[in-house]
Symmetry: C2
Subunit: 350 residues, 2 copies
C-alpha cells in the first residue's frame, strides 16, 4: 500500500518532544487502548483472545483509535505487546487469562541461544506494520501515532525467567554469573528491536517509545554496563522520529538515559518533576507522571492532583501522562477528567 | 524468667550503629535464618508448618542461633514474621506453600476497622518475647540479637490487599480516595508495633529493625504524609537500643528517613553507598547493600564485589549486609564467602 504522508492536524506531542513551545501541554495515557474502555472489551471479545487481537491488523487499528475518539487524547499508540519481539525470535508466549504472559521455553545460556532464530521482521511482524498503516488511515492526521518496543533488558527478563517476577533474580544472576551470555542475548534482542522499530517508522509511526518496565530491579552500574549501550544503539538507529525512553523505577539511571540521543524521558510517579529536571538538564522533554491510583479518587481530587503535577513540570518540554499504565479497573470518567484537566489547564505564567 | 544482663563479647554492630569506630566492618544477612541452611530445613520439617515454627519459642530460638554457629555472622535476628502484628490485631494470615502469605479477610474502610482488636501484645505475642529470651540464653553474649517489626505502611499493604502485589494499587488508592481511613489504620498499626518492639527490647533485643518492604510503591510526598510521621512515633518510642529503618526501593525518602531519630538506614542495592551518604549526612550508619544475585556467581566474583562494596562505604558507620533478604536457593558456600570477605577485609587507610 503506497503511503501518503498525511499532514497532522495536532502536532502537540511532536512539538513538545522537539522542545518547541506549545499552546498547552499535550496528553496521552499508557494503556489508553485497553480494558478501561467498554468499547475495547467488545472488540477483545470479538477477537476471542489477546494474541488474535494483536495479530489482526483491522482489530488492532480499531482499538488503537478508540481512545482518540472517546477520551480526546493527543496521540494514539499502536495496540500491540512488547512480547511480539521474543515471539518472532522463536520464543512463543502464552497469555494466561488474569495471570499475565508466560514463555513455556526460556533461554538461560549461550548454548540455549541456538534455539533462537533471527526473524525477518518485515515478514514475521508484518501484522504490526499493517496495523500501523490502517491506523494512520483511520486517524487521517487527527493525532500522531506512537510506535513502541520493549527495551532489551525487559525482554531479556521475560526470555530468561519465562514469566513476570518481583525480583527477576534469574535474569539478574546472569549479569554476575554469566556476563558473556547476558551481553550476547542483549545484543540479539537489540538487533531485532532496531529492525522492528525501524519498520514501525516506515509504516507511519510518528514517534516511538521504548519501555524498560523492569529496569528498576537493577542498580546504576549494572544498568550502565548491560542496558545503556543497547539503548544507545536503538536511539542512534532511529533518526526520523523522536524517541522516548521510559525506564520504570530506574531513578538511578535517569541521568544516563538523558545522555542518550533520545528526545523524551518517561517518568514513573516517584521521579518527581523537579528532581527529574535536575537529572536530565534543559534539553530533554519529560513525560509523565501522575500516580495511576489518583484516578481511583473522586473527580475533584483527580483534577487537583493533575493540576499540581502540571505546575511542577511547567509549561514547556512536558508531555502529560500517568507514571505507569492506567489500571484496568479505573473509572472512565476519571480518566476523562485527567485528560480534560490537562487540556483546559493554563499555566500561570505561560 | 528473670533476665540476667549478659555482657556481649562481640559488640561490633552496636558500636557501628552508635558511630563508634570498629576494628572491622560488622556483617549480618537479612533472612540468614532460613531456607539457605539445611539445618534450618530440618527444624522447619520438624515444626510441620511455618506458623508453628514462628510460634514455638524453642524452635524459633534454635533457627535464630544457627547462622551464628554456621556462618559466623556478627548478629542474630529473631526468627519471626512481620505478619504476627496484623495477626495479633485480628487478621489471621495463611501461608500458602511457595506462594507467600495471604489474609483471607481484609480491611479497606473505617467501618471495617471495627473488626480489628487492640491486642494485648504481652499476651498475644508472648511467644516472640519467649523466643528472644531463649535465644539470648543460647547466644550467651556471643553476638547481639536484633528484634524487628514491619513498618506500618508495609503492614497496611498486606491488611488492605490481603496478599502480595506488584503495585499494591488497592493500598495506594486509599491514600487518595480515603485518606482519613489510611491515617486511622496506620495509627492503629503503629500503636501495636510500638508495644511489640518495646516488648522485644524488654525481652532482650539489643537493637531493632523496622522493615518497610513495600515503601517503593509510593512517592516522596505520599511517603512524607502517610509514613514518616508513624515511623517517627516508632523511633521516638524506642530509647534504649539503636533503631534501623530499612525502606526498600524508597530512594526518594532516604533523606527524610535519615532525619528521624534512628541510628541506621538500611539500603537496597540500587541505593549506592556514595549517593546514600550524600542523602543521610555523616551522623547515621548505613547498612547494606550487595545485590543478593551476586551470591549466585562464582566465589571469586562474590569476593570481588563484596570488597568493592566495602571500599565504597568506607571503614566507619557501615554494617555490611545484602541489599535485600538472601534468596533461598543461594549456595551456602557463597554466603560464607560473603561473610568471610567482610571479616577479613582491611580498609586501605583504616
Amino acid at each position: 500500500m503506497p503511503l501518503l504522508k498525511t499532514v497532522l492536524k495536532n502536532e502537540l506531542i511532536l512539538k513538545a518532544a522537539r522542545g518547541t513551545a506549545t499552546e498547552r501541554t499535550p496528553v496521552w495515557i499508557m494503556r489508553q487502548a485497553g480494558r478501561i474502555l467498554k468499547e475495547y472489551r467488545v472488540v477483545r471479545e470479538k477477537a476471542g483472545d489477546f494474541r488474535t487481537l494483536v495479530q489482526t491488523p483491522e482489530l488492532a487499528a480499531e482499538v488503537t483509535i478508540q481512545p482518540v475518539d472517546i477520551l480526546g487524547v493527543d496521540a494514539a499508540i499502536i495496540f500491540s505487546d512488547i512480547l511480539v519481539v521474543p515471539d518472532a525470535m522463536g520464543l512463543t508466549y502464552v497469555m494466561d487469562e488474569g495471570k499475565g504472559p508466560r514463555f513455556p521455553e526460556t533461554i538461560r545460556s549461550i548454548p540455549e541461544m541456538a534455539r533462537l532464530r533471527v526473524p525477518d521482521v518485515e515478514d514475521d511482524l508484518s501484522y504490526v506494520a499493517q496495523a500501523i498503516r490502517l491506523t494512520k488511515l483511520g486517524l487521517a492526521g487527527r493525532v500522531p501515532l506512537i510506535g513502541f518496543a520493549g527495551a532489551p533488558w525487559t525482554i531479556f527478563c521475560y526470555m530468561t525467567e519465562g514469566k513476570g517476577s518481583k525480583t527477576f533474580s534469574l535474569a539478574r544472576r546472569s549479569l554476575f554469573a554469566d556476563p558473556a551470555f547476558a551481553h550476547a542475548l542483549m545484543e540479539r534482542i537489540t538487533d531485532t528491536t532496531i529492525h522492528y522499530l525501524q519498520m514501525q517508522v516506515r509504516a507511519g509511526a510518528d514517534l516511538v517509545q521504548v519501555f524498560d518496565s523492569w529496569a528498576g530491579v537493577l542498580d546504576r552500574e549494572s544498568y550502565r554496563t548491560f542496558c545503556i549501550p543497547y539503548l544507545r544503539r536503538i536511539c542512534e538507529s532511529i533518526s526520523d522520529v523522536p524517541v522516548t525512553v521510559f525506564a520504570k523505577d530506574a531513578w538511578f539511571a535517569t541521568a544516563d538515559i538523558a545522555a542518550l540521543p533520545c528526545a523524551t524521558i518517561g517518568l514513573d510517579w516517584a521521579q518527581d518533576a523537579v528532581w527529574a529536571r535536575t537529572q536530565v538538564g534543559p534539553n530533554r522533554t519529560l513525560q509523565g507522571n501522575l500516580d495511576p491510583c489518583v484516578l481511583y479518587a473522586e473527580g475533584a481530587v483527580v483534577q487537583r492532583e493533575t493540576e499540581r503535577m502540571l505546575q511542577r513540570f511547567g509549561p514547556n518540554r512536558h508531555i502529560a501522562n500517568l507514571g505507569h499504565g492506567v489500571y484496568p479497573d479505573t473509572p472512565v470518567d476519571n480518566v476523562r477528567r485527567f485528560v480534560d484537566t490537562v487540556k483546559e489547564f493554563q499555566h500561570p505564567n505561560a
